[in-house]
C-alpha cells in the first residue's frame, strides 16, 4: 500500500481580497511544496502586504480558502497554524527590547517551548547576513532600518519553521547585505517561502516568480 503524499505546505484556492470597492486580487490560486520559494512582485501601494497578512489570518478574504499543511485556516485552526509559520514584515518594530531579547522572545511563547535555542545558529545567521554580533546587545530603537530587518529575519529563522512569509525583507539593506540574503535563500532548502519582493537578486534566488496583473490574477514571470 502506498503512503499518502504529504499535503502542500500552502494551498490557496480562488482567493479574492479587497478593501471596500478596491480589489487587490481575484480568484488567486497557489500551491507551495516543501523547500520551494516563490517571489511575488506587486505594484507599489497595491496592498502587497495584505496577501501575506491574509495567510496569517490578519486580513479576511472576500472569498476563497487558505490551507496550511492540509488544514484550512479558520478562527480555531489559525492559532496552532501560526506557530508553524515564520513571518517578517517590511518595517519590523522590535519594541523596547534589545536585538537579542527580540530574537529570544518567541521562544517564551507556549507554542514554541518545545524549540531548542541554538547559540551556534544565531552566530551562523549573524555571519550569513553580515550583522555584527555586538549589535545584539543594543537597544532595538538605536538600530538602523537595515539592521532591524536583519534582526527580524534572524528571529524568524531561529524558529526553524517549514514555511515563511517575507515582506520586502531587503528594502532597507545595502547592496552587500542584499546579496548576502539572496545567497542564503538560494542555498537554504530546509524551508519554503512566499516572498513579496521588488529586489531582483532575491527574486532570482526563488524557484518561481509571479506578478500580480492589473486584473488581480497571478501570472508566472519565470
Amino acid at each position: 500500500m502506498s503512503e499518502a503524499a504529504d499535503p502542500p505546505l500552502l494551498e490557496i484556492r480562488g482567493l479574492s481580497l479587497g478593501f471596500g470597492q478596491r480589489s487587490l486580487c481575484e480568484g488567486l490560486s497557489l500551491t507551495l511544496s516543501q523547500g520551494e520559494k516563490i517571489a511575488i512582485t506587486w505594484k507599489s501601494g497595491g496592498g502587497k502586504s495584505s496577501l501575506l497578512k491574509c495567510i496569517l489570518g490578519f486580513v479576511p478574504p472576500s472569498s476563497g480558502s487558505i490551507c496550511l499543511q492540509g488544514i484550512e485556516l479558520d478562527p480555531l485552526t489559525v492559532w496552532p497554524l501560526r506557530s508553524t509559520l515564520g513571518y517578517v514584515p517590511q518595517e519590523p518594530d522590535l519594541g523596547d527590547l534589545t536585538a537579542e531579547e527580540f530574537i529570544r522572545r518567541p521562544f517564551r511563547f507556549r507554542a514554541n517551548r518545545g524549540l531548542a535555542w541554538e547559540d551556534g545558529r544565531l552566530r551562523e545567521l549573524c555571519s550569513a547576513f553580515h550583522l555584527e554580533e555586538g549589535l545584539l546587545s543594543q537597544e532595538s530603537r538605536k538600530l538602523s532600518g537595515g539592521e532591524k530587518q536583519r534582526v527580524a529575519l534572524i528571529a524568524a529563522l531561529m524558529l526553524r519553521r517549514k514555511l515563511y512569509l517575507f515582506d520586502e525583507i531587503t528594502s532597507a539593506l545595502d547592496e552587500e547585505a542584499r546579496a548576502a540574503v539572496a545567497d542564503y535563500f538560494k542555498h537554504a532548502k530546509e524551508f519554503a517561502a512566499v516572498i513579496v519582493a521588488h529586489d531582483r537578486e532575491l527574486r532570482a534566488a526563488c524557484d518561481r516568480v509571479f506578478k500580480l496583473d492589473p486584473e488581480g490574477a497571478l501570472r508566472a514571470v519565470s
Binding site: 497578512k53 496569517l56 490578519f58 478562527p75 489559525v78 518594530d93 518567541p106
Partner: protein, 263 residues
C-alpha cells in the same frame, strides 16, 4: 484636644469660592480655554455635593442595608459611564466588563477592610460603608481610565509589534502582555508615588477629615494606612480585570483588534 469640628457658615462657605480668583485671573490673562469647563465643574461640584450631603444625612439616619447597597450600585454605574466617556472607548462594548471590574475592585478590598481590619459589627453600616467605598471606587476609576486608555491606545499605535508576536505563535494573552505591563505601570504608578510621599508631602483628605473630627491623630494614621492598602489593592484589581474582561470582545476570533473599539 477638642472633640468637635467647627462648623463652616454659609458666608464662610461662600468666601471659599474667592480662592478661585487666582486661577480665574490667570485663565483670563493668558486666555486659557478653561473658563467654561471650570465654571461648569464648580457648579456641578457644588450642586452634587449639596445633594449628596442631604442624601447622606437621610442614608445615615435610616442606615438600611438595601439603601447602602443601592447607593454603591449608583456610584458604580456613574463611575462606569464616566470611565468610558473619559477613555474614548466605545460605550456598548465596555459597559458590562468595566462595571464588573469596578464592582470587584471596590467590593473585595472594601469587605476585607471593614470586616477583617476594622472588624465592623455591621459590615453595611452607612457611616463606614459609603465613604470607604467611595474612596476605593474613586481611585480605581482614575486608575482604570489611565489603564484602559494606555492599553488600547498603545495596541492601536503599535499594532505591528502585536501582530508580529501573533505571527510568531503567541496566544492572545502572550501577545498583549507587553501592552498590559505598560498600562499597568501607567495606572498604578501615581498611587505608588502617593504612598511614598504620604504624610510628608501630603496629608490625605480622609486622615485630615478624621483629625478635624476630633479623633486621635494616631488612630487617623492607622485608618489611613489601611485605606491606602485597600485603595491600592482595589486599583490593581480593577485595572487588571478591566483589561482582561474587555479582551474577549475587543478582538476578532483571529486575534485582530476590532477597529470599533474606539469611538
Amino acid at each position: 484636644m477638642s472633640t468637635s469640628t467647627l462648623d463652616i457658615g454659609t458666608i464662610g462657605l461662600l468666601l471659599g469660592y474667592l480662592l478661585l480668583l487666582f486661577p480665574l485671573a490667570f485663565i483670563l490673562f493668558y486666555r486659557v480655554k478653561l473658563l467654561k469647563p471650570l465654571t461648569v465643574s464648580v457648579l456641578r461640584l457644588t450642586v452634587q455635593l449639596l445633594m449628596v450631603g442631604l442624601y447622606l444625612q437621610l442614608v445615615f439616619k435610616l442606615n438600611a442595608w438595601w439603601l447602602n447597597i443601592l447607593w454603591l450600585i449608583v456610584m458604580l454605574v456613574v463611575a462606569d459611564i464616566s470611565l468610558i466617556n473619559s477613555s474614548r472607548l466605545r460605550h456598548r462594548r465596555f459597559y458590562l466588563p468595566i462595571f464588573v471590574s469596578l464592582a470587584i475592585g471596590t467590593g473585595i478590598p472594601l469587605i476585607y477592610l471593614l470586616g477583617v481590619i476594622v472588624r465592623l459589627p455591621d459590615l453595611l453600616d452607612a457611616r463606614y460603608f459609603i465613604p470607604v467605598a467611595g474612596m476605593i471606587l474613586g481611585n480605581s476609576l482614575r486608575a482604570d481610565i489611565v489603564g484602559l486608555s494606555t492599553f488600547y491606545k498603545s495596541l492601536h499605535t503599535e499594532e505591528k509589534t502585536y501582530l508580529l508576536a501573533l505571527a510568531q505563535g503567541a496566544t492572545l494573552n502572550e501577545a498583549v502582555r507587553p501592552f498590559l505591563q505598560r498600562a499597568y505601570t501607567a495606572s498604578l504608578s501615581p498611587t505608588i508615588a502617593t504612598m511614598a510621599t504620604i504624610g510628608i508631602v501630603s496629608l490625605p483628605g480622609m486622615m485630615t477629615g478624621i483629625i478635624l473630627g476630633g479623633t486621635d491623630p494616631f488612630l487617623a494614621i492607622k485608618y489611613q494606612i489601611a485605606i491606602m492598602m485597600a485603595i491600592f489593592s482595589g486599583t490593581a484589581l480593577a485595572v487588571i480585570l478591566g483589561i482582561l474582561l474587555t479582551l474577549k470582545t475587543s478582538f476578532s476570533r483571529y486575534g485582530v483588534l476590532n477597529p470599533d473599539v474606539f469611538k
